[in-house]
């Protein structure tokens, strides 16, 4: 078996599409003007930004004036949670998040706590699902904002956002959802989801790094996060980043067109990978939901061993994966998402996320599982926790 380069970390970031890059190119050195300037030289930039805004609006089914370009998903999330809460302060100071949100949301919640807000973190079940009853119970008179993600970045669990958003609205509460992982893999439609705010980030669907979108329903006014001049209708400062915004526009158009084909192809790879790992490697636990799951996500706890060792051994075979959340890699904390699903700490430490992208092939999957089997066996041999008799017991 020849060594391959297998990138299975598409939930961390994806390869920029060549078409997208090509569309961006003229805006670097040729049409480099400030899109807000009044002279003819900038007209092409302004038009390009308008077009991209229109593409995003069409993709998520909203009006172009409801699209705000940001520098990333984290900015959009911080803006939605902090800005949404601050602008609601007159009505109350309680915010509800789930326990499995991305660090940009979790830490915005922490920021709110330090700034006079009260934050409730909703429990999830062992599959990572937020239950409607939990949300209903958490709502208070003074709740001003709820933020629950559509698809989780670590375990891929997909929430029933329409139902959760409806509960929020029945109580007059603004609802935000983080769709950074969902975009391009499942339907992301603000009308169908019924949300007031929504976050996406281009680099998760083969667009450039450094450009995200916050959708804000027209009529809803939130506090600003990045102050500046008149950009983004006065809501987000910074000289308009025309090339990256153009990249977002082309990437989202392509993502929407390709969602069904990509999802179908990726789901096949996911299902084969899950099957093979379950059948061929003993003592593993599939993290996340068996069905309500992103097409791209495979996440397993490999008992008795630790994630970084697995990651590094796979790396030596040319396979790129992530242990816990890629965003917090390098940290020693076990994943807050896995812990929220009730996984014991040592199993959380031994979990690996494989995230499949449109460039992967079935050969990548088979190569990975073949290598993985050997690596897991070797590492278990090295583990003081692994006693073959335990295995026999558990099987």
């Amino acid at each position: 078996m020849d060594k391959r380069e297998v990138y299975l970390d598409n939930s961390a970031t994806t390869k920029l599409d060549e078409d997208v890059l090509e569309a961006m190119m003229p805006y670097f050195t040729e049409y480099y003007g400030n899109s807000l300037s009044q002279y003819g030289f900038s007209r092409k930039c302004a038009q390009a930004v308008d077009d991209a805004r229109y593409s995003v609006a069409k993709a998520i089914d909203c009006k172009p004036v409801e699209v705000y370009f940001t520098s990333c998903g984290s900015e959009a999330n911080s803006w939605a949670v902090r800005g949404g809460a601050l602008s609601g302060r007159k009505r109350g100071s309680h915010v509800i998040l789930s326990k499995i949100e991305h660090p940009s949301i979790m830490n915005s919640g922490k920021w709110l706590t330090q700034n006079g807000f009260d934050v409730t973190y909703l429990d999830v079940d062992k599959y990572g699902m937020v239950h409607e009853d939990e949300l209903r119970k958490a709502i208070r008179e003074d709740t001003v904002l709820i933020s629950i993600m559509l698809a989780n970045n670590e375990i891929g669990t997909i929430q029933n956002i329409p139902a959760l958003a409806a509960i929020a609205h029945a109580n007059g509460i603004v609802f935000h959802t983080d769709c950074v992982q969902a975009m391009g893999l499942i339907d992301v439609n603000v009308k169908k989801l019924g949300v007031d705010m929504l976050t996406i980030s281009a680099h998760k669907f083969y667009g450039p790094k450094g450009v995200g979108v916050l959708y804000v329903r027209s009529g809803l006014i939130i506090d600003r996060l990045i102050n500046g001049g008149g950009q983004e209708r006065g809501m987000r400062g910074g000289t308009t980043n025309t090339p990256l915004i153009v990249g977002m526009g082309v990437a989202i158009e392509k993502a929407v067109t390709e969602t069904d084909t990509n999802a179908a192809k990726i789901t096949l790879m996911r299902d084969r990978m899950i099957e093979r790992i379950k059948n061929e490697i003993p003592d593993v636990i599939l993290n996340g939901h068996p069905r309500q799951r992103l097409p791209s996500n495979v996440n397993f706890a490999f008992n008795y061993i630790e994630g970084e060792s697995i990651l590094m051994r796979l790396d030596l075979e040319g396979i790129a994966v992530s242990s816990g959340s890629a965003c917090s890699s390098g940290s020693l904390e076990p994943s807050h998402v896995l812990l929220a699903t009730g996984l014991p700490v040592e199993r959380a430490h031994g979990s690996i996320r494989f995230s499949i992208g449109k460039h992967n092939t079935m050969e990548d999957i088979d190569y990975t599982v073949d290598k993985l089997k050997v690596i897991i066996a070797q590492l278990r041999e090295m583990s003081p926790l692994y006693k073959p008799q335990d295995r026999v017991k558990e099987v």
Partner: protein, 123 residues
């Protein structure tokens, strides 16, 4: 993040396993923190003649275990007690700052194994 020496020590670790009926055994850390290290020693006339390890832990834990067990072989227990994590890290070149605690585990596991030996001997 890791240098080549660490990666080599991690990918081809020496002294993996468990000595049967060891003269000293030391287990430190716990799975909750993400690192457990078990070291078993064969000690003859206060000289360490063999050392093996098992580790539940990151690449740094494996590499330091491998290196530390290599280093103590042939040492007297007095010498081995003086083996600091700094010396183990030195042998590996360097470790990322957030991984330094793993090298401490190797030092502690060896100490624990020697203490186990001494306590058995004094009984």
């Amino acid at each position: 993040m890791y240098n080549q020496k660490v990666i080599d020590a991690f990918s081809n670790p020496k002294n993996v396993g468990e000595i049967e009926n060891p003269d000293g055994i030391g287990t430190v850390g716990n799975a909750t923190c993400g690192d457990i290290m078990q070291i078993t020693l064969r000690i003859e006339n206060d000289i360490i003649t063999d050392a093996k390890f098992k580790t539940f832990g990151c690449a740094a834990a494996v590499a330091t275990s491998s290196t530390a067990t290599e280093m103590v072989k042939g040492m007297s227990i007095d010498q081995a007690l003086k083996l600091t994590n700094a010396k183990v890290v030195e042998a590996l070149g360097e470790l990322p700052a957030q991984k330094m605690h793993c090298s401490v585990l190797a030092e502690e596991a060896i100490k624990a194994a020697i203490e186990d030996y001494l306590s058995k001997k004094n009984k």
